[in-house]
Amino acid sequence: MKSAATIFLAAFLALSASWAAFVLAPQLQLGREPQAKATGTDNLYPVARPGLAKQGAEVYRSLGCVYCHSQQVGQEGVKCEVILTEAGTNASVTLAALAKLNTELGQPQTLAALPKVLMPVADVPTAVPIIKAIAAVGAKAEARVTPVGADISRGWGLRRSVAQDYAYDSPVQPGTRRFGPDLANVGLTKPDVNWHLRHLYAPATEIKGSTMPPYRFLFEKHKRGAKPSPDALQFADEPGFEIVPTDDARALAAYLVSLRADAPLVEAPFTAPTPAAPSTNAPVATNRVASLPYTASELLKLPESSK
């Protein structure tokens, strides 16, 4: 073999070039994703999974759930809309301002059910002047960014999956097949640990006609004694017996409810649904107390020099 050296070199070059392109370059790009701040908050994302959920990731891996379930949500596009959130105090002024944007919006029924989608816009910067115009008359509007796509409309996520979502997973288990639904956000859609335990024990009790295999070996079945186990699942059709989840089952369920990619990120923007305002028992603005060195009427006479 007189060209052994050439063949070796060529093979080496070909393999190392593809290793560099498919392993090294992605590793350099995404291998050390730092925690990032979720858009508009100071919350770091993602957070490490709690210990039990971390063990659950190993159970998930060992049972091969990944052969039937993906954990990656796709997104085909994005849409941006201006929505009216508050009508303001003077409805007719608000309607007049809305009519200037679009005559149809000037009808009273626009204000009937808020928040109301006013119009689709190309992007957030185009929405800003419209929002300002609405704010000028005392009403309130905002731009809402919603990802669109088949996975999103199936309710599998709020936005697409990005590398950041997997920063704490080793190995990542994005999966390739979807015999069952995508699980990237199953902790958002099904946050109940007990639901997952019952579903793992007998999928068909929770989802009619489920073809997911039951994972009964993750549970112990005992004759119910004088003192029933506090962890036992409640099944009506097993009188006299109790089904107790093992540590593996509990870890797996904890892992499943920890699967949630609900933070808006720079690379995957969306408008998070506004959480209900936390109830507060802080006092509301009180009137000035008369025994202070000055009274309210005195104060009003003072110039508001820096107002």
């Binding site: 720079v266 923007p269 802080a282 509301v284 003072l302 020099s305 820096s306 107002k307």
Partner: protein
């Protein structure tokens, strides 16, 4: 044994020899066109290996078009962070104050004052002596806890305490902070309530 003599006959065909042939021109052109198209598509949508670019966005700027706009005026979220780092120790994360440590900010007439001339001075140089907050008497000292902040930061912070915990008062602008800071003319001695009350609100 019938050994045939090994002869070299002139009629046997010579071993085939590979000749150098030129690659046809059309193949080279096709490869170049494909390379060009590939590079073109990549240029349009690939974001040049930018790790923060994912479809459907084609560049960082493209994704930037869908980020929420920065808040108009002071940023109370940033103010909240500053407050929790620097004021919450005494006044509490809930703004309710702490017995014998600091009066409440929630519902405080000092915080909610219509004019903010006096309020801005308190974190800038501090406050000494008797004060009445929400009808309760206090007599303590507060150091210049906010002197190190820029005008922007202090306006974020004060806007936060004026809008959190059920407080509802107008935000404080950086210009208002700057005006007060200029007016202090380098004063570092803490105010007393009497002194503050002599100032316009």
């Amino acid at each position: 044994m019938n050994a045939e003599p090994k002869t070299c006959s002139a009629t046997t065909e010579a071993d085939p020899v590979s000749e150098t042939t030129t690659v046809p021109m059309w193949l080279i052109t096709l490869a170049l066109v494909l390379l060009f198209l590939g590079a073109w598509v990549f240029d349009l949508r690939g974001g040049w290996f930018e790790p923060k670019v994912y479809g459907p966005y084609t560049s960082v700027a493209d994704a930037g078009r869908f980020q929420p706009p920065p808040p108009d005026g002071p940023d109370v979220k940033r103010g909240k962070v500053l407050f929790e780092q620097n004021c919450a120790l005494c006044h509490g994360n809930d703004g309710m104050g702490k017995p014998n440590q600091a009066p409440p900010l929630a519902g405080s007439e000092w915080v909610l004052a219509t004019g903010v001339n006096r309020l801005i001075r308190i974190p800038l140089v501090g406050l000494n002596g008797p004060i009445k907050v929400n009808g309760q008497d206090w007599n303590l000292q507060m150091a210049a806890m906010g002197a190190q902040y820029s005008d922007d930061q202090l306006s974020d912070l004060l806007s936060y305490i004026r809008s959190a915990w059920g407080n509802k008062a107008s935000p404080v602008t950086p210009e208002q902070v700057k005006k007060v800071r200029d007016d202090l003319k380098g004063r570092s001695q803490a105010y007393t309530v009497d002194e503050l009350m002599k100032l316009p609100e």
